[in-house]
């Protein structure tokens, strides 16, 4: 896979090692605590002689080089769920708030990684929504596999979602996926500025609607798996311009993050944007990601 020259020029401000974008991603999984415990999984994998390493910042998550994870009884029974590390972080950030939540929305939920993770961490009712009916099938399969009873599936364009009030809304909208090249190398073949702008325009509409669905003092998590500031800082900045939203500082103990950009090209962003985080692959051998934690005021 060759990385386009224009891509390197564009992102060399925060990516120093572009080679890592062509390397395979370490395999990671999460323990489904609805059905089993972390200790049982550790014990069983030790018996299998499959090496797994617990993550210091998330004790329910493990990485493993073994290609054999999918051939275990635990995989079949839905005791474990394969999920990329960065994709686990948006839910991890609201772990505390989830304890008192009654209603949670996963706004662009398919294939269900975050929905099933939410179900492990809350007794709240979770509405898992996705616009794409074909992807709903995978979402339904994963919810059933994990045994997440407290879930409701909807197939709505988020922009026209019925007016409701949620304690927490997760918005991980369609994006240019630049941070997933280690898993999907063909992302760079389709990479273009037109795609970035197209996504950015849609994301601005979605973040406004998602914010409207959060109840007062509730939390909106906005995340993408892309590097483009137009799809990250600029989208959150747009929300700050249009509403009274306030950003909350994100701290993930023992996890290295890169500060968000407060300006990009000719644009200067609201100072609050400093509270959002970027995850750069070379920092921790992961994919690329962006997360903002937004409080409704």
């Amino acid at each position: 896979m060759e990385i386009p020259k224009h891509f390197i020029e564009r992102y060399s401000l925060f990516i120093k090692d572009f080679n890592i974008l062509t390397m395979p991603l370490p395999k990671s999984f999460r323990v489904n605590t609805i059905k089993t415990t972390v200790n049982d999984i550790k014990k069983r994998f030790k018996e299998y002689n499959i090496k797994i390493t617990q993550l210091p910042y998330y004790k329910e998550a493990f990485i493993s080089d073994s290609p054999e994870i999918g051939k275990t009884l635990e995989h079949f029974l839905g005791y474990i769920y394969s999920q990329e590390i960065t994709s686990m972080l948006p839910v991890l950030i609201v772990k505390k708030e989830l304890k008192n939540a009654n209603l949670v929305l996963d706004a662009c939920a398919a294939p269900g990684s975050k929905t099933t993770q939410l179900a492990c961490l809350t007794k709240a009712t979770i509405i898992a929504n996705d616009i794409d009916y074909r992807r709903i099938k995978a979402l339904k399969y994963n919810i059933e596999r994990i045994g997440a009873i407290n879930t409701i599936l909807t197939n709505q364009d988020l922009r026209f979602f019925p007016n409701m009030e949620f304690d927490i809304v997760l918005l991980d909208p369609p994006c240019s996926s630049e941070g997933t090249t280690r898993k999907n190398p063909n992302v760079l073949e389709q990479w273009s500025m037109q795609q970035i702008i197209k996504h950015s325009n849609l994301q601005k509409q979605l973040i406004l609607k998602a914010y409207n669905l959060v109840k007062k003092n509730g939390i909106l998590i906005y995340s993408t798996c892309t590097f483009a500031p137009e799809e990250n800082e600029e989208v959150v900045n747009y929300l700050l311009e249009k509403t009274t939203a306030r950003l909350e500082k994100i701290i993930i103990p023992k996890f290295k993050t890169y500060p968000a950009l407060t300006e990009w090209r000719d644009k200067k962003y609201n100072k609050q944007i400093e509270k959002t985080i970027r995850i750069i692959p070379e920092l921790q051998d992961t994919g690329g990601f962006f997360i903002a934690k937004i409080k409704k005021c």
């Binding site: 059905k35 299998y48 499959i50 054999e68 999918g70 051939k71 275990t72 009884l73 995989h75 079949f76 029974l77 839905g78 009712t125 509405i127 709903i136 339904k140 399969y141 919810i143 059933e144 596999r145 045994g147 997440a148 009873i149 407290n150 879930t151 409701i152 599936l153 909807t154 197939n155 709505q156 019925p162 409701m164």
Partner: protein
């Protein structure tokens, strides 16, 4: 369309599960039963009008078959109509194969391996007929 099952019908279904599998009814008290296309779902107490599905499917009204998903989630509460497989049989079963057994009475049973609830099986003519959905079948290497 997903619709809430009326109290009386819900009670009848739970009684049926109690009779067939001796499963305690109070484990369902925090949930509600719903129906769509002859499938019974166990889901949250309240759903919204736009819901297309919820929770997990537990029972098929047409075939009168409990789902593998239901047995995998609630198998530990089932005390009746259980068949225990050994390691080799379990590997075959999860791979989608039928198992020869010495039981004749036609019925759906919970298939277990040690303490693990593997899923649903159909006993018929001395065969445990495989009921693991095709998209869940795998060739296990570690058990």
């Amino acid at each position: 369309m997903l619709k809430k099952i009326e109290k009386k019908e819900g009670k009848r279904l739970l009684n049926l599960l109690k009779k067939e599998y001796d499963i305690e009814q109070n484990i369902f008290k925090n949930y509600e039963l719903y129906e769509k296309n002859n499938k019974i779902y166990l889901g949250p107490k309240n759903i919204i009008e736009k819901a297309i599905s919820c929770g997990i499917p537990i029972y098929n009204l047409k075939s009168k078959k409990p789902s593998t998903t239901f047995f995998q989630s609630f198998g530990m509460f089932i005390k009746k109509n259980i068949i225990d497989l050994n390691k080799e049989q379990t590997i075959y079963y999860i791979d989608g194969k039928d198992i020869l057994i010495v039981q004749n009475e036609k019925k759906y049973v919970l298939v277990k391996y040690k303490e693990f609830s593997i899923g649903c099986g159909l006993i018929k003519d001395n065969i445990l007929k495989n009921q693991i959905p095709k998209n869940k079948q795998i060739r296990l290497k570690y058990i």
